[in-house]
């Protein structure tokens, strides 16, 4: 039985005890507490592949779910001013309690028609041009930028290539590396490849406990290196794409703890934790003089990588 299956089994048990408690008036609260702790423990042992399944879970909260939980004001603003309003990326003006921020998030969509409308969170170049337009608006007004990542990757299609997916992503990296406002990146679910990285450059990188962040999808990696897409589990684990892996690598700053079973099991709790972390980070970042912040950002980016010399 995999860790994942064990957790599912324990969750079933909890449900059983809960109904016992309600229907038969048997007091089993203590048992439930113990089982939940057990689940939390097991969670720490989830593999990268388990996390991948969690990150893609059908019930997992999406960016638009977080919006009302995090912000008391949110006004979407649209458009790249050039070609199309890409619905896979949502931009907005927002208030995080009293602090004004600009928000850019990737949205995968909820039901089937919404998923299609959002192109499953896979942006075309116009999505990335929109983010550049909006981040410059944020820069003009000195507003901190909050980026939320949740995408299988940039869309691989004819139109996307025609309109220069490569330039659009590169320009995002270029702009974010030097834009003169504080940036906080949160990886909510799937951090897929260059399409995620395009919104992944900032001063502080947060990652939900069950999110993943990878150079290539496990399936893609398996197809190439195992010559068998069904070897995604091996690939995922070999790629080390969990939040705990990335924390160990020193790449992300903070893991946002999720409730046992994932953010969707107690979304309010997950969103609260995220909000608290973003606020803490923001409070620190806004105090840093902007030139110093840019130096820190550059140094952080510069240090990414492991190699030997001589």
């Amino acid at each position: 039985m995999s860790v994942w299956e064990k957790i599912e089994e324990l969750e079933k048990q909890i449900d059983k005890f809960k109904s016992l408690s309600v229907e038969e008036h048997i007091e089993v609260d203590e048992v439930i507490v113990i089982l939940k702790e057990k689940i939390n423990d097991l969670h720490k042992n989830l593999t990268s592949w388990d996390r991948t399944r969690m990150a893609r879970h059908i019930d997992r909260p999406k960016f638009l779910d977080y919006v009302p939980k995090l912000f008391n004001y949110f006004q979407e603003i649209g458009g790249d001013r050039k070609f199309k309003n890409d619905n896979a990326i949502i931009c907005g003006l927002a208030s995080l309690d009293k602090r004004k921020v600009v928000v850019i998030g990737q949205e995968k969509g909820k039901d089937t028609s919404d998923k299609i409308y959002r192109n499953f969170g896979m942006s075309h170049p116009e999505g990335y041009w929109k983010t550049i337009r909006v981040m410059k608006l944020a820069e003009k007004f000195g507003l901190p930028l909050l980026l939320f990542v949740d995408t299988p990757g940039a869309y691989p299609g004819i139109g996307a290539e025609e309109r220069g997916q490569l330039v659009a992503i590169a320009e995002n990296l270029y702009e974010l590396s030097g834009i003169r406002i504080p940036i906080i990146v949160t990886i909510l679910g799937e951090g897929g490849s260059g399409g995620a990285l395009a919104l992944g450059v900032g001063d502080r990188l947060l990652m939900m406990e069950n999110a993943i962040y990878s150079v290539i999808s496990p399936e893609g990696c398996a197809a190439i290196l195992w010559r068998d897409a069904s070897k995604a589990e091996q690939a995922a684990n070999a790629l080390k794409i969990s939040a705990f892996d990335l924390k160990e690598f020193g790449i992300i700053h903070e893991i946002i703890q999720e409730p046992g079973g994932g953010a969707h099991k107690d979304f309010n709790a997950a969103a609260d934790k995220l909000k608290k972390s973003i606020k803490n980070s923001l409070n620190k970042l806004v105090k840093v003089p902007i030139d110093e912040l840019l130096d820190q950002r550059y140094n952080m980016l510069r240090k990414f990588g492991v190699f030997k010399e001589k």
Binding site: G157, R163, L166, V167, L197
Partner: protein
């Protein structure tokens, strides 16, 4: 003399009686003549891939090239193995095969009367994939160019990310882009030359950020690989899709330059901006 230079000289001593068939016009080409013609088909002009030593021999004034950061080497941060072998073994094989320590050579040399920082990728080294070393050498190249107030010319050839290094590989896109911004803010020129193939993470980071972007004729250039796109959209791709010519038409390149004219174009550009 660096290892790869020795190796390249050794290569020249290999038996000469080798023939290559041109994939475009099917002409059978005598290998040495092809090398003399900087790997351009003498019949139809097809551009074969050119190795870093080929590029250096063609572009850079003899004896002026000084390699930098030649001793940076890959490690295996994930302890990665795929179905067949360990990443470290794969690395060792590639190093032996190519005589290089990474997929790029960086340094300073003279082209015509102009000094420039140069980066030349080697597709033969694990498909020119970008890992920590490639990213580090590119970033250092631009930082070196800032220090010396020099332009950068970077010749790309890459199949994408070095998956074996996982997230480190992806992050090189951000690292190199940030270094290019510093170089640009210092007012320096960056010419990006995209050769066959330039795809994936390399294409969507430093390759796409040139002040001037040049493509080689017929080169495959794109972000997503053609096969991935075909699988996604479930239809055949149009002819010429993701060629340099396609990118030029769509406004992504400043020009497409035949390899034979590239040197003089570069000299003119370096002089113009110099």
């Amino acid at each position: 003399m660096t290892a790869w230079l020795k190796k390249s000289i050794l290569k020249k001593k290999e038996p000469d009686n080798q023939w290559i068939k041109c994939p475009d016009c099917a002409e059978i080409l005598y290998k040495n003549l092809l090398i003399d013609n900087i790997n351009v088909c003498t019949r139809c002009g097809h551009h074969f891939r050119l190795s870093p030593d080929g590029w250096l021999g063609y572009l850079v004034n003899r004896g002026t090239f000084k390699e930098i950061n030649e001793n940076i080497q890959s490690v295996d941060p994930l302890d990665f193995s795929d179905a067949k072998e360990r990443y470290v073994d794969k690395l060792n094989r590639s190093m032996k095969k190519t005589g290089m320590k990474s997929a790029i050579i960086t340094g300073v040399g003279k082209i015509g009367k102009q000094k420039a920082c140069l980066g030349i990728m080697n597709f033969a080294f694990l498909g020119g994939s970008m890992g920590s070393v490639l990213g580090e050498k590119v970033a250092r190249l631009f930082e070196h160019a800032i220090e010396l107030s020099l332009p950068v010319i970077l010749i790309s050839a890459s199949g994408g990310a070095r998956m074996h290094e996982g997230i480190y590989s992806l992050l090189q896109m951000a690292k190199t882009s940030a270094a290019i911004r510093k170089h640009s803010e210092a007012g320096q020129l960056y010419i990006s030359i995209m050769t066959d193939p330039t795809t994936g993470g390399v294409s969507a980071s430093f390759s796409a950020l040139g002040d001037i972007m040049i493509g080689e004729p017929g080169a495959l250039i794109g972000f997503a690989g053609p096969r991935v796109i075909e699988q996604t959209i479930k239809q055949k791709l149009p002819p010429k899709f993701q060629t340099a010519e396609f990118l030029y038409d769509h406004g992504m390149l400043d020009m497409i330059v035949n390899r034979k004219e590239l040197k003089s174009i570069l000299i003119e550009l370096l002089t113009f901006f110099g």
